[in-house]
Assembly symmetry: C2
Homo-oligomer: 223 residues x 2
């Protein structure tokens, strides 16, 4: 049992959170020395953490110039969401017949828990995790670990932009309603309708993000 965590892993996890949380804008250089001081470790685990994040697509290494946070073009964002549609409808279709009552209960619990958090005082920081947990709960019975891993990758890459959208719009309620709808269709075992809803669910999120980015592009600096 690997309950132990290396410093490199700790730095990677925390730094991922900071990047996804928007602390660093796209293209900013991440100086190893500074990060090492931040975490009170040497530069070695910092480098290893940055390498991990590179493989996740969150930073890019430039030779002898270190790591920079990545910024995705609108085209790439569209591509990522198209891939999510392709892969997530694929697993949902495979999972939906194998969904047991326990699975459905689990998904519902996550959903209700999130409903509560939303009503009480909605902090968005945790939303990504809730959202991902709910989707994974529906996908779990498919027993396609490699596929889920790819989906997880895609989510990580697009996560920053999803959060950005949530901050500036009131999309959460709509997404939440769609989640309830998705759960109901899954319960009924209606694969076609469920996949259709999932597809529009993802696509509309994408369009919202793209619209926001293009809006921003018109007003380059609002500071």
């Amino acid at each position: 049992m690997a309950t132990y965590k290396t410093r490199a892993q700790f730095v990677a996890d925390d730094l991922r959170g900071r990047i996804l949380g928007g602390e660093f804008k796209g293209g900013t250089q991440l100086r190893q020395d500074a990060l090492a001081k931040d975490y009170d470790v040497s530069r070695i685990p910092v480098r290893e953490a940055l390498l991990t994040l590179e493989s996740e697509g969150l930073v890019e290494f430039h030779a002898h110039r270190g790591a920079f946070t990545t910024e995705l073009s609108v085209a790439k964002i569209r591509e990522l969401f198209d891939l999510r549609v392709l892969l997530e409808t694929y697993v949902l279709r495979h999972a939906i017949n194998g969904l047991t009552d326990t699975d459905l209960k689990k998904a519902e619990d996550i959903l209700l828990k999130y409903d509560q958090a939303l009503n009480s005082g909605g902090d968005i920081d945790n939303w990504s995790e809730y959202n991902f947990a709910f989707h994974q709960a529906l996908y779990a019975p498919a027993e396609l670990p490699e596929t889920l891993s790819l989906i997880s990758q895609l989510n990580t890459k697009s996560d920053r932009y999803i959060r950005m959208q949530l901050v500036y719009t009131q999309e959460i309620e709509k997404a939440e309603q769609e989640h309830h709808g998705l759960l109901e269709l899954a319960r009924q075992g209606d694969a076609d309708k469920a996949c259709e809803l999932l597809k529009t669910h993802i696509q509309e999120a994408c369009e919202g993000i793209v619209a926001l980015l293009e809006e921003r592009a018109k007003q380059p600096e609002t500071s």
Copy 2:
């Protein structure tokens, strides 16, 4: 232009080749010290190389026990090939209408070059690269870099097993014929038929590998 390569990258590239080439059987421990001596570098770039390979799914880290080469179950191999079918038919469909004469010429050149190599004295070491280059040439016009990257990941993970199959069977000629057929259908712009052929092309390779693995499982030790 980053024509420069760090030692860590060099080690990663070479070590990947060795793993895919079958030098290490599944589950063998890769000791950092030994590798460092092999490449005449310190353990730092070796560790970074291993981290890169971990993100590619070729090795796994166990806390304080180092990196071990991974071994895929039959179920995971099947899953990887199913994903390849899903993603590769997806890009091919997107690419096929945009294929220019130059693109087709490029794919054909790769194919002919490989035909020659096969006739003259077929060494399989390069086959993976040829194969991948041909497929990528057909997919290029889709202009879906993220998707191609995922496909590349899947190919890397399954590469060892493809090579294994090629060593023990005479599947290369058949694959080569299918490649020619694929090129012809692409030239005609027949997306449906091309995707169908691609699908069976991938699926049959998968079945060949699974059959070989199950054959092996019956005769655990042939040394």
